[in-house]
Structures are given as structure tokens and as C-alpha cells.
Amino acid sequence: MQRFSGLAVALRRGAWGPQWRAPEPQAAYDAVIVGGGGHGLATAFHLARDHGMSRIAVLEKGWIGGGNTGRNTTIIRSNYLFEESSRLYDHAVKKWEALSQTLNYNVMFSQRGVLMLAHTVHDVQVFQRHVHANRLNGVDNEWLSAEEAKEFCPPLRISAGMRYPVLGAALQRRAGTARHDAVAWGYARAADALGVDIIQNCAVTGIVRDAAGAVEAVETTRGKIRTPKVGVVAAGNTSVVMAMAGVRMPLESYPLQALVSEPIKPVFPCVVMSNTIHAYISQSDKGELVIGAGTDAYISYSQRGALHVSTHTLEAICELFPDFRRMRMLRNWGGIVDVTPDRSPIIAKAPVKGLYVNCGWGTGGFKATPGSGHLFAWTMAKDEPHPINAPFTIERFRDGHLIDEAAAAAVAH
């Protein structure tokens, strides 16, 4: 691997080789990862680095990082309510803090702070519960008054005449954003250097099971590949891939939109989220306002959503930040997010020997990428979950041990 550094950039003057190889698929691997997004590539990296597995392939039907990894609003935080969730996401945040050095790739992790706005008395109760729960679990989160929130984020409007006034905000200072494409590329380059074969334009078309029912191979558009372990990390397409092994999933795939404005000089120092009025916003290092919209109401694989979903988001943005009303939407795009009934992910063994699944991240998978890869690799290598992902099974939907972040936050009285 050609080491990256400021000095190397200066000396090489552009004389760089490929960041990863473009190998032909081999006939057999020790493990095959289905899906070349951030989570899949991170899984391959950790399988190779931490578990001594060298014959690993990542199969990507399109181009790496082309799914939700490259389509999200890059928010990273760990201020989740339930202990299981905050441990999971904080595991990732700790890895984010060293990721550029781990990968020797600048993923631009920017801990600029995430403000979550409370607009009603109920919001205040919910967010204060988050603050207390997080602090007990060693996750930073603090409560700000409306005035303190405005000081932290000057464009924020807190005047009393608003339809939904800002009553305060929860602030996680360690939270922030990162450069999404760099995460996929950085993991790809680091995994490739450890011998992982990253095979693009290779769609999995079948999962082959032996007489005992265990996984023995995958069929792909580039031939059959034998392997005893298949890790499915296919985000919005998980149901489709798992169906190849005869497994029905507690998942639904929805379009999720995001948009950016034209670039402007820095005006927005942090990330602001409002669950009550459905908007989140930050400003990229390039200067674009990066704005997240909600999901459409119906399942879809079209990678585009309806205009009224974006307009609703911009109504909320303009209500909170009326100075931005003349700003202009430059680009809008859609991803396909896989959503579980309790809005928490599944990182687990599937009910088929040799089959593992990492899915259900919904609208918030990007933030978990480094932790998810680490935990999923552990689960695949040892055939048992790491304690952190042990609660995130498929079976919880049978037994009722749900980890319902959405229900915990969204019920109004």
C-alpha cells in the first residue's frame, strides 16, 4: 500500500497507482461479504486484520460505496436512549475518532457537535431522559437552553412567535459528520492491502445450501463462488438477498431523500436535528448545506422519492432558519433504507448455518459503519455475537425483546 501523507503528496506529484486492485473472482473464499458499502468493506477489513482470515471477497453489484454509504447526510452521533443502542453507536464513535489514522485515509471526521431541538414540553422530557441515560452510560450529552442553543448555532431562530418554539436542545459535542465516500474508499484500500478481493459489478443471484442446509456457495453474475460463510450487508436490498437463502426478514425498504444547497461561505457550525418538525441540517466542508428529508410512506426500490417529502423538509428548515429561504437546492437524491419494526439494526447469525446478516440500519447506518464492521466481523469469525451486538438479533422479533428507539421518542400525548 502506498502510504498517504502530506509529504508523499508533495513528493509524488500525482504519481499514484490504484488504491485497490480489480481482481477476478476466485473459485472459493473463506468468507464472502455481499455488499460493498461502508459496512461490508469495514467487515472485510476487520475479518482480515483482526481474525486472520485472508481469503475474503466483497461482492458489489455496482460500484463500492454507491448505495446508502454515498447517499446519506453523514451525521455521526451516539446519543441514543437505550443502553443497548448507545453502547452500539458509541462503540462506533470511538472508532471514528481514530479512523483516519487506522485507515491512513482522511475520512474528515468532524466533531462539530449535534444539537437536537426540543419544541414541546414532551420533547423536553424525552431529550432530558436521553441526556440522563447517556451520561449514566458514559456517553456525552448535555442540555442547553434555547439561548445556549442559539449561541452554539447562530443561524437558529428561537423567537417565541414560531409555530413550534425552541424550548431547548440536547447537545452531543463528540458527534459530528464525516466524508462519506472516503469511508468506503478508505476501508476498500485498507482491506485490499490485507488481501481482500473487492469485486465490483458482481451481483449475487443465488445462495447455495448443502444437503444439511448450510451455506456452501453463492451464485453471481460472474460465476459461482464457493464459501462456508456469507455475510449479507446489502442495506435496502437485504430482503431480496436473504430470500435467496429462503429467509424472510422483518424489514421494509423505503426511499429516503436528502439534498444540498449551492455552496456558501461558512455560516453553519454544527449539525441541527429536529425530530418534531422533521429536518436535519449541517454544512459540508465544501460549503453546501446538507439537508435530510424523511422517508416516503411506501416501500420502494426506485432510489427517488416524492417532491412533497423534500418540500416538507424545506418548510421546516425555512421555519427554523428563515435566513436560508433564498438559498437554493442544488441537488436532491434518494437512497433505499431498510427499516426494522423497532428501528434498531440486526447484526446477527441468520437461521441458516454459515449465513450472517447486518441490516436494518434505517436512516442512520452511516454513523455506525466502523463499529458495525468490527462487530459483524467478530460475529462471522467466531460464529457468535460480540457482547455489544448480542441484543441485536433477528429472534428479538419473536421473543419481544425489542429495542424501540422510535417508539420511545415519538409518542405524543
Binding site: S100, Q125, P263, L314, E319, R326, R331, H401
Partner: protein, 984 residues
């Protein structure tokens, strides 16, 4: 005088109407009909911007919405100044103020240009490779520096005072683009009887026809056609960009209504969003000329040949004195000849192709122009404006040609954006050198240049056929199937972009400063996918979204990968076609129009009493009624004591109400709610709990049986819509055998709660026909009768623990009844109380609030409501889920009361609860409600605690920033545990 470069006559500008404007503080004069670009060029101004990364001086490349360089901030003051507008689209008006962006201190001398010197180190993706040492450096040093350097214009600094509007509209045929193809399509469709809308992003309809010489046949056709369209009732929308195409021909248009006016009517919206559902769409979006790739191709004065022609013909402005035309397509010859005729000295036509079309070369030579086939441009000279270009000839040797304009004609790229957004396929057309729509079936009809038909008469024919076919497909009577006969091939042949041989930087994406070397580097580094190259180099990601750069980038990628453009593919086209204001998209939704405000019939009275309101779902609810300078806590203490000692009145109108009627109403409620209802007597009420099918509490409320087949169901304030939707779902799809009808009556009934020991004496004189004596109307019963003379339903229920009544009266009569109650109550010392007091009073009694004690993960047993569950019932919604193992775990959180060791200490809602002070202690639960009870003289709290009911009497800790608070677990009933006070 409107500029030294204005030609004596011609163009569509109004020479009688000079317009004064300023750019970067200098005053200029243009003409009505000018864009800011044409007006500046008329005044000899070409340096208008600095590029994003290297801060290179830049001039106008184009004349339309594809312009990447000439981005300006327009408007004076803080609130209306708008950044990043294209000077080529800004229409000048008297007093317009514009300034350049991304430069300091000035356009001519920009300190940021130091980046240009460091360019060898700033190649594509350099930032991924560096800024990693030391590990804290990114946060403290590098990112702040990068952020400061990034961005183009400055955001507005005050709230936008303008308003925006939105319209929905249906039509038979929507025509996008009003050039020759679009106009002829609209005419044909309208003549066939279709309802037609035609829109165009420019100020005038006409497209490329606006560049025609006045008096020419095509100019005359334009004038005639506009009249005919108006007469046919076609809705014509200039300054309106179709920016997004969605499923089933749903098209979004953004109309700029007042931006071009010096003194707009304040009643007019600034912009308007049109959301059009069209049976058929004709896409006539035209084509965009491609720049050429050669070193120094970004210097001010290097311009698209077609744009130069537009400036001359449409605006009457010479973009320079002496031009070198560089072409790789036949198009360049026509532009050169037209410009020469218009008075521009054309130094030469340098054709990158070895063998130009003979006829065109001959025509050019006949017009006195020099043609240099097989040329290569080795570079340009000049600093803030091009001074010359170095041309290497096919015959060998190179020469410097002095010029102040270098005009590029790289062929035209069809604008397939909307077609592609409709999720249709594109195919590569060799003749055009670009992607064109793959099929013309269905309800979307590309026409003219956007499908590669470039010759004007063919375009007119093609448009007419497309319009006629669209009208036919919109189910209008026509006798014969309309055929599309115009071949979708361009007569223009262009060559794909190639890396120049000469040294020096050749730009592909002008705004984002992406060079040919960047693209080559990306491919060398393994970024093979077109999407990867785009993201790694940022080519095509600037505010022009690659309109002039994408196809050239594809050519360079194909070259670097030694393949062809079709194998490279193209990036996904996404909306919007050009940027759209947030305000246009948000429309009128601001302030109280952002979300509807629901107010109860008593709202005005509460407001007059000085109530403080809170938002609960869409409702405004009175939270407390401060007297004089009371704080909330003082007011709440007074209200609580008033209710407990005498009587209080509370507006409970926001409660959801559903009338459940029919012979099977009781059976239906039994299946929906956990409680039994069949045996509930007429005139009796029951507290009902509703679960989701997963076993968790969704809602609760009091349900009264009005008649054998009629129930009055109440829900929580926020839960009413979802409860009704859930009931309808089960009734229509699962229990469709039941004869039951559901009606929302939330808005029909106002609810006046009268609570307290003196409640009966207050209401007694107001009630007619109902015996309200304790024996006749016991706790948890309901009667119909007259209240203050109007028909009402009187509930005897209590959410306070006191004797209580809820007067349900028609909303229209509510204020009258309220006034009567209030007047009667004065003798009894009645207080009006709000939601905060309601919360305290019910917490003292341990009554839960769904959404406060419960959070979507709570079962009836968890909150001590196991008694309500009709265990004998075979089934109800959620019953099966309650039988799962996790629901019976003794460690589940259960509702308890907490008392603080220090009686005055009020816990914080949401605070966590732990067993001890050990390190790494885990949460046992959390505080759900906490108040100071004025009646009891100490704080009370409700909490959900793991295994809580087995912990009665235990001491637990509540960790707070100032130290742990010790609490004792008690039963969750603090006041009147025997429950005697409801009996009055």
C-alpha cells in the same frame, strides 16, 4: 450609451430604455432586455468570477443556465441579497446591485489565487491523502482552514421578507422548452384540442429562435406562433424552469415571478412552484454546446461559440473584437460566419478535425475566413482576459494568433435531464457524441435537439409530430395514428473530448477546477466507475451540475480507460435541473401556516385570562393561568389547591372523541380494547386501554355506553387520528363481519371538566333532565340531557381524584356553557386550571399519561393496569403478544412512586435511577413524572423501575450532575389512596 461593445442595431433589447446598474460598486448602463451578462459584456467587462479551488480569473463561458463561471450575488441589503446567481440568467433592471464572489480583496487581485501556485499539490482527492498528522490536526488546524476557503457566495443574513406561492395544475400536454421544437409541439397539440402548458426558463419564449435575425422566416414564424398559441388558450410560462420529473408525469416547475423587476408589486410572490400532472409531456429542452479541452481554456474571453452568437444576435453585443474559433464540430463554422457578418473579426477557424465537411469549409472561406484543419490549441495567453492563442497546425509548426475571444464549438449535448429523471434509458449517439433518449414510447415525447435533431426545419417538423402524437395519446379524437418520422440523428458530427498533447492545464469542469490531469489521476488510482470519478474529482458536482463538463469528462474517462463512452456510461441525472430556492419549495408554509393550529372553543377566553399555552400535537392547550406576576410553579400550586379544596374548571376539549355505533359496537370494542365491554351497562363508563398488535400501550381513554348500540369513546389528545385510523383498519379489513360505524366527534364536542368537592353544586343548576345525585349518577357513569339548555352528555369521571364531571356540549355552545359554569363557580371559589395542574393532580393519584409514563415499550401490567385486561376474553388486539416470554420477565420496568429524602427536592423528569453508588452502575429505570405537590407539601414522582413492584420501601439513587439524590420506592398513589374523594 449602453456600452462600447453594443452594435448599432439588432437584438431584442429595447434601445429606448437604458437601465443603470452596478457591479462590484461600479456603475454601468445596460438596456431593458439585457441579462447582467450581456450588459457587462456590452461594457467590456469579462472578468466576473473566481473559480472554486484555484481562484483562477474567469469570464462568461455561456449565455444561459449552463453558465459555470459568472456567479454573482444580486440584491442590496442583508435579507434580499441572493448568492450564486448566474449573470447569464439575471435580467437587469434599474438599480440592480450585483457583486462578484469568492475573491478577496477584489476580482482583479485575489489573494486566494495563491492556491493556483500550489496546484501541483492540490490534485484530485489530495485531501483524502493528507491532513492526518498530528491526529488532532484535522479538527484544530486543517478543517477550519479548508472550511474558510470553501464556499462561493455569502448566505443572506436576515430572514427573507418575500413570499412564495404554489399551484397544482392538470393538463393534457405539458411542453418543456419553448424553442422551435417546443413551440411547434405546443401548436400542434393545441390545434388537436389539447389543454396545453408550455414553459421555458428564459424571459421570452423562443429559445434559439430568439437568435434569428429580425425579419427572417424563422423570426416571423416565432412571432406568428406566439400569437396562435395565445389564441388557442395555451398557458405560456416564461421564466419557468421544469426542474424535476417524477413518476406518472408529475412535473415540478419553478417560475420566477418578480425577480426581474425593479419595483415588484409586494402582493406578488417572488417565485411560484407549479406542480403539474400532465397526461403527456413533450420534452423540448434543447441542447447545450460543449467546450473544448485545451490548455488555458478557462481564461476570461474563452467562450462557447454559440453563446457569442447569442450575445451578438439576441442582445446586440459584440463579445470581443477579434475571435479565434476553435471547433470540433460543424456547428463552429456557422457561428463563425454569423459572427463575422455581425462585425466580429474572425482571425481563423481552427478545426481540431483533420477533415472538416467540405461544404462548410468552403462556405467559411467564401465568407473570407481562414480555415485551419487538423489544428491543435497549445495554449492561450493573457491574465485577466485572453490576449492570444497558440495554434499548432496539421502541417507542423505553431503560431500565436492574437485575439481577445476564443470561441469553442465542441458539438451540442442534448439536454436529457428530465427524460432521464423519469427513469428512462439513454443510449449513446455517435453522431451527436452524446447520450440521447432511448425510446419515444409511452407518455413522454422528446423532440428536437434534446433527442439529437439539430437542423432547424427538421426540429420544427419533429416538434409538430411530437405535439400531435402527445395530443392523440392524451385520448383526444384524431383520425389517424401520428407518426414520428424525423430521424433522431444529428447532422452535426463532433469528436469526443481527448487529452491535449500540449502541456498546461486544460479544464473540464470550470467552476470546480477539474482538469484533464485530475480525471486521468482518478482513473489511474482505480476509480473506474463514472460515479467514482465524479465523486473523487468533483467533476459535474458544481452549481451547474456538469451541464458543460459531463460529456467531456466521459470522453476523457473513456480515453484513459482505453474504451468508448458507452462503456463508461453516464452519471444519474437528478433533480433539480437548475437550482431552486428553498422558499419556492417551502411555499406559504411559515409561521402558523407551517402546520395548522387547532384551538378549542375556549381558546379566546383562556387567552384573555392570560393563559400560557403549550403545543400538544397540533393543538394549543392552556398550560396554566398565571395571576399577576406568578411563576408557573406559583400558579400551578394555587390551581392545585383550588381544585382540591373547592372546584376547578378545565378545558378538556382536545381529547379525541369517536362515536362507535352499530349492533356490534360492544363486540368491536371488546376486540379492540383490552377491557371487556359487552356487559357494560347503558349509562356506565369504563377506562379503556388500547394496545398495538405487538402488545404495547398505544392509547387510553374513558368509554361511555350511551345506548346498547352506541359508545362515546375518548382518546388522548395526540392519539385521536391514529386510534381512529387503527379502528377503521380493523373494522374494514379484519372484522368486516361486524356492523359498526365510526365517526370522529372530536370537533363536535367541547369538554368542560369541573372537578373538586364543590363540583356538583356548581353544575347542579345548569343541568336539566339529569339526576346528578350520587346514587343516580355514580362515579364512572354518563347521561344525556340538557346543559345550559343545549343537548349534551354529562360524564361523571375524574382525572384528579376529586368528585368530577365532564360536560360534553356542542362546540358552538361551549363558550356560553363555560361562561355559565365560570359565573356559577365564582361563589365556590372556582379556579381555571391548565394542563400542568392537570398533570400534577393526576400524578398525585398515580394516573398515567400515555406518552409520559408509557413510551411505546410498555404493557398494561408494566404500569399496573393488569386489572383492566379482560383475561377471560379469547382475543383482543395485542393479547397474543402479551404471552411472549419477554413480556413476563420479572425484570421489566414497572410503575412505582418515588419520594425524595429531601421533601422539597423535585426530581427531573427523565432522570435515571440506580441501585447504588458503585462505578459502572446500570440504569434500573427512569423518572417519568415529577412535581412539587402543594397539597401534600412535598415532591412526588412516578417512575418506571426494573422489578419495581418488588422494591417497595427500597432506597435507590437518582444520579444528577450535582450528586446522587436518594429516593424511596413507594406505591404510585400519593393522595387519597383509598380513593374516597371521587365520591364527593
Amino acid at each position: 450609451m449602453s456600452g462600447a461593445f453594443r452594435v448599432a442595431e439588432g437584438g431584442r433589447v429595447d434601445r429606448a430604455r437604458p437601465v443603470r446598474f452596478s457591479f462590484d460598486g461600479r456603475a454601468y448602463t445596460g438596456l431593458a432586455g439585457d441579462t447582467l451578462a450581456s450588459a457587462l459584456i456590452a461594457n467590456g467587462v469579462h472578468l466576473v468570477g473566481r473559480s472554486f479551488k484555484y481562484h483562477r480569473p474567469r469570464g462568461f463561458l455561456a449565455a444561459g443556465s449552463e453558465e459555470p463561471n459568472a456567479l454573482v450575488r444580486v440584491g442590496a441589503g442583508t435579507a434580499r441579497a441572493t448568492p450564486n446567481l448566474r449573470a447569464t440568467q439575471v435580467e437587469v433592471y434599474e438599480g440592480l446591485v450585483a457583486e462578484s464572489q469568492n475573491r478577496s480583496p477584489s476580482l482583479a487581485f485575489d489573494l486566494g489565487a495563491i492556491n493556483d501556485l500550489a496546484a501541483p499539490f492540490l490534485s484530485a482527492g489530495f485531501y483524502y491523502k493528507t491532513f492526518m498528522w498530528p491526529s488532532w490536526g484535522w479538527k484544530r488546524i486543517y478543517e477550519p482552514l479548508i472550511r474558510r476557503a470553501a464556499g462561493l457566495g455569502r448566505a443572506p443574513e436576515a430572514p427573507d421578507p418575500d413570499c412564495y406561492a404554489q399551484r397544482y395544475v392538470h393538463c393534457d400536454v405539458l411542453v418543456v422548452g419553448a424553442g422551435p421544437a417546443g413551440l411547434s409541439a405546443a401548436l400542434a397539440a393545441a390545434e388537436a384540442g389539447a389543454r396545453v402548458i408550455i414553459c421555458d426558463e428564459q424571459a421570452e419564449l423562443g429559445g434559439s429562435l430568439l437568435d434569428e435575425t429580425p425579419g427572417s422566416a424563422h423570426a416571423a414564424w416565432l412571432a406568428r406562433t406566439l400569437v396562435a398559441l395565445a389564441q388557442a388558450g395555451v398557458r405560456m410560462l416564461p421564466r419557468t424552469t421544469a426542474f424535476g420529473m417524477f413518476a406518472q408525469n408529475f412535473v415540478a416547475l419553478a417560475e420566477r415571478v418578480t425577480e426581474h423587476l425593479a419595483a415588484p408589486d409586494p402582493r406578488q410572490p417572488r417565485e411560484r412552484l407549479w406542480q403539474v400532472r400532465a397526461r403527456q409531456v413533450v420534452l423540448a429542452a434543447g441542447a447545450i454546446e460543449r467546450p473544448l479541452i485545451f490548455p488555458g481554456n478557462d481564461r476570461p474571453g474563452v467562450m462557447l461559440a454559440g453563446a457569442a452568437r447569442t450575445y451578438l444576435r439576441r442582445y446586440g453585443v459584440r463579445p470581443g473584437a477579434r475571435a479565434l474559433v476553435v471547433t470540433s464540430s460543424d456547428e463552429g463554422y456557422r457561428s463563425a460566419i454569423d459572427l463575422a457578418q455581425g462585425g466580429v473579426d474572425v482571425a481563423a477557424i481552427a478545426d481540431l478535425r483533420a477533415q472538416p465537411a467540405a461544404a462548410l469549409a468552403d462556405a467559411a472561406r467564401a465568407a473570407g475566413l481562414t480555415v485551419l484543419p487538423g489544428s491543435e490549441i497549445e495554449g492561450t495567453s493573457g491574465r485577466l482576459r485572453v490576449r492570444g492563442a497558440r495554434v499548432r497546425r496539421a502541417t507542423g509548426g505553431s503560431a500565436e494568433i492574437a485575439c481577445d475571444l476564443v470561441l469553442m464549438a465542441g458539438g451540442r449535448t442534448p439536454s436529457v435531464h428530465l427524460f432521464s429523471q423519469s427513469a428512462r434509458k439513454l443510449s449513446f449517439d455517435e453522431a451527436t457524441g452524446a447520450f440521447v433518449p432511448d425510446d419515444a414510447g409511452g407518455a413522454i415525447h422528446p423532440a428536437g435537439a434534446c433527442r439529437g435533431v439539430m437542423e432547424i426545419d427538421a426540429v420544427l417538423r419533429d416538434g409538430a409530430q411530437a405535439g400531435a402524437l402527445a395530443a392523440q395519446r392524451a385520448h383526444l379524437p384524431t383520425s389517424a395514428e401520428v407518426l414520428r418520422t424525423v430521424a433522431a440523428t444529428a447532422e452535426v458530427t463532433a469528436v469526443p473530448a481527448r487529452k491535449p498533447h500540449a502541456r498546461g492545464r486544460a479544464f473540464v469542469d470550470f467552476q470546480n477546477d477539474v482538469t484533464t490531469k485530475d480525471i486521468a489521476l482518478a482513473v489511474r488510482e482505480g476509480f473506474v466507475s463514472v460515479e467514482h470519478v465524479k465523486r473523487y474529482t468533483t467533476v459535474g458536482m458544481a452549481t451547474d451540475q456538469g451541464k458543460t463538463s459531463n460529456i467531456n469528462a466521459l470522453g476523457l474517462m473513456a480515453e484513459a480507460r482505453d474504451t468508448a463512452i458507452p462503456q463508461v456510461g453516464h452519471t444519474t441525472f437528478r433533480m433539480p435541473y437548475t437550482p431552486v430556492s428553498f422558499g419556492t419549495l417551502a411555499g406559504a408554509a411559515r409561521g402558523n401556516l407551517f402546520d395548522p393550529v387547532r384551538q378549542t372553543p375556549i381558546h379566546a377566553w383562556a387567552e384573555a385570562q392570560g393563559a400560557v399555552f403549550e403545543d400538544v400535537s397540533l393543538w394549543k392547550r392552556a398550560r396554566y393561568f398565571p395571576e399577576r406576576s406568578e411563576t408557573m410553579h406559583q400558579a400551578v400550586a394555587r390551581e392545585c389547591l383550588g381544585v382540591r379544596a373547592g372546584v376547578g374548571v378545565f378545558d378538556a376539549s382536545t381529547l379525541g372523541k369517536i362515536e362507535v355505533v352499530g349492533p356490534d359496537a360492544a363486540v368491536f370494542l371488546e376486540r379492540m380494547y383490552v377491557n371487556p365491554f359487552r356487559k357494560l351497562g347503558v349509562g356506565r363508563t369504563r377506562y379503556g386501554v388500547l394496545l398495538r398488535e405487538d402488545g404495547f400501550i398505544l392509547d387510553d381513554g374513558v368509554i361511555g355506553r350511551i345506548a346498547a348500540d352506541r359508545f362515546h369513546v375518548t382518546t388522548t389528545t395526540g392519539g385521536a387520528p391514529r386510534v381512529l385510523a387503527m379502528m377503521e383498519d380493523y373494522l374494514q379489513t379484519e372484522f368486516s363481519d361486524l356492523r359498526v360505524w365510526l365517526t370522529s366527534t372530536t370537533e363536535e364536542w367541547a369538554v368542560i371538566a369541573v372537578q373538586g368537592p364543590k363540583a356538583r353544586e356548581v353544575i347542579a343548576p345548569l343541568v336539566e333532565g339529569i339526576d346528578i345525585s350520587p346514587a343516580a349518577l355514580p362515579h364512572m357513569s354518563v347521561r344525556e340531557g340538557r346543559i345550559c339548555g343545549v343537548k349534551g352528555r354529562l360524564f361523571r369521571v375524574s382525572f384528579t381524584g376529586e368528585l368530577g364531571f365532564e360536560l360534553n356540549v356542542p362546540a358552538d355552545d361551549a363558550q356560553m356553557v363555560w361562561d355559565a359554569v365560570w359565573a356559577r363557580g365564582q361563589d365556590a371559589g372556582m379556579v381555571a386550571y391548565g394542563t400542568e395542574t392537570m398533570h400534577v393532580l393526576r400524578a398525585e393519584k398515580g394516573f398515567i399519561i400515555v406518552g409520559q409514563e408509557t413510551d411505546g415499550t410498555v404493557t398494561p401490567d408494566d404500569v399496573g393496569l393488569g386489572w383492566a385486561v379482560g383475561a377471560a376474553k379469547p382475543d383482543f388486539v395485542g393479547k397474543r403478544s402479551l404471552a411472549r416470554a419477554a413480556m413476563k420477565d420479572p425484570a421489566r420496568k414497572q410503575l412505582v412512586g418515588l419520594l425524595t429524602q429531601a421533601p422539597a427536592r423535585v426530581l427531573e423528569e427523565g432522570a435515571q435511577i440506580v441501585a447504588d453508588a458503585s462505578a459502572g452502575r446500570r440504569s434500573l429505570g427512569h423518572v417519568t413524572s415529577a412535581y412539587f405537590s402543594a397539597c401534600l407539601g412535598h415532591s412526588v414522582a412516578l417512575a418506571m423501575v426494573s422489578g419495581g413492584r418488588a422494591r417497595m420501601g427500597e432506597s435507590l439513587l437518582v444520579p444528577m450532575p450535582g450528586g446522587d439524590v436518594t429516593v424511596r420506592v413507594v406505591a404510585p398513589v400519593f393522595y387519597d389512596p383509598a380513593g374516597e374523594r371521587v365520591n364527593g
